[in-house]
Amino acid sequence: MADEPQSKAGDGVGYWKANLRLIIILLAIWAAVSYGAAIFLANPLYNIPFFQINLAFWFAHQGAMIVFVVLIFVYAKTMDKIDRDYDVHE
């Protein structure tokens, strides 16, 4: 039936696709906070206040770096689960 747990073990193609999907999502966020918020959208975001500074400046000098750290840990954690689901963990 539909809810029967399906073993994904041995599905090498599925594992690689799941990995690539996760990489694409995380790199999209990576690009959005750095090239997006801090560079290409910097002029409009400069006019949006963020506490005592402007939003573009916050991303450029603080925010993007914090997001980078979070992205790597999210990748590592999510891959732990994907590795187990596809039974390729160490």
């Binding site: 090498g12 594992y15 690689w16 990995n19 990489i23 995380l26 790199l27 990576w30 750095s34 090239y35 801090a38 560079i39 290409f40 910097a42 002029n43 400069y46 963020f50 506490f51 005592q52 500074i53 402007n54 573009a56 400046f57 916050w58 450029a60 000098h61 603080q62 993007a64 770096m65 914090i66 980078f68 750290v69 992205l71 790597i72 840990f73 990748y75 590592a76 891959m79 732990d80 590795d83 390729v88 963990h89 160490e90």
Partner: protein, 558 residues
């Protein structure tokens, strides 16, 4: 006790610690020498990577560079951190699974080509030599600024320390000393930053003080009044396109630097490689989110204390007198009105501030105890020595492993290989020391070269080697040659022969981004027009993509 005596004691204690750690971790196998026996826990590797990465320039000069660039300082902040996301997602786990010793190892095996291996080894040596010259110089400069020693003497002391733990301990000794060096440098950076944040804004956490206090609006106003740039406004003095291209080039350059990549060979598993990239960036971000805050506080404070004051008033400030003696601060009453004024142009300004002052003078400006001043000296030395050690290992392994063992004498015994490794690291120390004492005038220019080359050569072919199973020898070689060739010609022409930045006005610092793109595109096109790689290479790519079996793979190779 004078500041100098305390500095000698603190610096001396840290050096004894590094020597002790290096001796404790001496190695007797090539695996220990090149990759610390794949035995470094992820958090420790994160600290070692952070120390490996953050150089004398990051520690001493970066906050100062940002304080003069304002908003555009983001090229360094994001450019030198964003690459770790690429490393964690696209490179580190797969290279760890591959499980050998060096970057040229991967390039040579994946592209089944000894010429690709040699090109990669030569690139790795070039990039690392360029880099290490600046580090040894940094050691000498710290000694001369804090202790009044001649730069040459400082460089020789630094060489002796690095030679000791690197020759004996190889990667294992280097890694554990880097863990200690990270601890020293981060404490030395944070104490003055917290103190000055507290003094200037009343909030002791620099990152929060930057966002939640009114210090940035105040500095903006001050800078505008003086005719300087509005601090927090984007793209003044550097176009949006250039900010983008430089940021990308530094990010992918970071991800292609051999001394950073090989750190991920030292952990026990693929999973550990992913997490240790996260720890590395967390430890780096601690300093990198503090630096822009420190830049603002120190700039504001310097303008406030110095601008519009008479020479008599300035002379009452001990730190101003001290740094004026070193030439890092200069006062000259050009219009003869008895008052020192900060102006926008070098011709008119009566106060000249060297960027290194921002970090170096902070403990004294914040009236901290001499112990903190001594700690900053120890921190600068830790930053320079740890980066130098990592680079020296790349120089040694490229020659002793990739060229001597893999190319010239494949039947060399374990002990011969280890001996050659130790000799080469010692030779590398001598070369680094030579350039530290006699710095070629073009060191600053060639740093752009190191990043551009790493971005245009290693980054694309490693990524393609993992993510494109169809990529073959022909594609990789054409890609490397075109990407690197274009980047090298553009940088050399622009920096040394006065060539215009003719390519859309992109500066030499940013051109590696286009070089990398050229490498990607030409490699993809050529690979599709030539035969696919052999079946065993395709099987190797399959294996690299799956975590299980990293240990087995490594053993199989031994």
């Amino acid at each position: 006790m004078s500041v100098e005596v305390i500095t000698y004691i603190i610096v001396g204690l840290t050096f004894v610690a590094y020597i002790f750690i290096g001796y404790q971790n001496r190695v007797r196998t090539t695996s220990g020498f090149y990759v610390a026996g794949h035995g470094i826990p992820p958090v420790a590797n994160g600290m070692a990577t952070a120390a490996d990465w953050m150089s004398a320039a990051s520690f001493i000069s970066m906050a100062g560079m940002i304080s003069f660039l304002g908003y555009n300082g983001t090229i360094y902040l994001l450019g030198w951190t964003g690459g770790y996301v690429l490393l964690a997602l696209l490179l580190a786990p797969y290279l760890r699974k591959f499980g050998k010793y060096t970057v040229p190892d991967f390039v040579g095996d994946r592209y089944y080509s000894q010429s690709a291996r040699v090109v990669a080894a030569v690139c790795a040596v070039f990039i690392s030599v360029v880099y290490v010259a600046g580090q040894m110089r940094g050691v000498g400069i710290v000694f001369s600024r804090f202790l009044g020693l001649p730069i040459t003497a400082g460089v020789i002391v630094g060489m002796a320390i690095v030679a000791f733990f690197a020759v004996l301990g190889g990667m294992k000794g280097i890694t554990w000393t880097q863990v200690a060096q990270y601890s020293v440098l981060i404490i030395a950076y944070m104490i003055p930053a917290v103190a000055i944040a507290w003094i200037v804004t009343g909030i002791p956490i620099p990152q929060l003080a930057l966002t939640f206090s009114d210090i940035v609006p105040k500095l903006n106003q001050l800078q505008i009044d003086l005719g300087l740039i509005e601090y927090a406004k984007p793209f003044q003095g550097l176009s949006m396109l250039n900010v983008f291209m430089i940021t990308v080039a530094l990010m992918i350059g970071t991800a292609g630097l051999p001394h950073i990549i090989i750190r991920f060979y030292t952990v026990p598993s693929v999973r550990a490689a992913r997490y240790s990239a996260g720890w590395a960036l967390l430890f780096i971000a601690l300093l990198y989110t503090t630096a822009p805050a420190l830049a603002v506080f120190a700039k504001y404070n310097l303008i406030n204390e110095l601008h519009g004051k008479s020479m008599e008033q300035i002379e009452t400030l001990d730190w101003a007198t001290k740094w004026a003696e070193t030439g890092l601060l200069k006062f000259e009453d050009k219009d003869g009105d008895g008052v020192m004024s900060l102006k926008a142009t070098p011709d008119e300004t009566e106060i000249t501030i060297d960027r290194d002052i921002i970090v170096l003078s902070t403990p004294e400006v914040a009236k901290l105890s001499p112990i903190v001043i001594a700690l900053v000296a120890a921190g600068g030395l830790a930053a320079a020595l740890s980066t130098a050690a990592g680079l020296l290992l790349v120089i040694s392994s490229s020659i002793s492993h990739d060229i001597y063992y893999r190319l010239i004498r494949p039947n060399a015994t374990e002990s011969q290989r280890l001996m050659v490794g130790r000799i080469m690291i010692f030779v590398a120390v001598l070369i680094a020391g030579y350039f530290g004492i006699n710095p070629p005038g073009f060191v600053a220019q060639v740093v752009a070269f190191a990043f551009g080359l790493a971005a245009a050569s290693f980054f694309p072919i490693i990524i393609l080697g993992i993510f494109d199973k169809r990529m073959n020898r022909e594609g990789a070689i054409v890609g490397m040659v075109l990407g690197m060739g274009f980047t090298a010609i553009y940088i050399v022409g622009n920096k040394f022969f006065g060539m215009d930045a003719w390519f859309f006005g992109i500066t030499a610092e940013g051109i590696g981004t286009f070089g990398a793109l050229l490498n990607f595109v030409s490699a993809l096109v050529v690979s599709r027009l030539t035969p696919p790689p052999p079946a065993e290479i395709q099987a190797m790519v399959e294996s690299v993509r799956i975590p299980r079996g990293a240990d087995h793979y490594a053993e199989h190779y031994e």
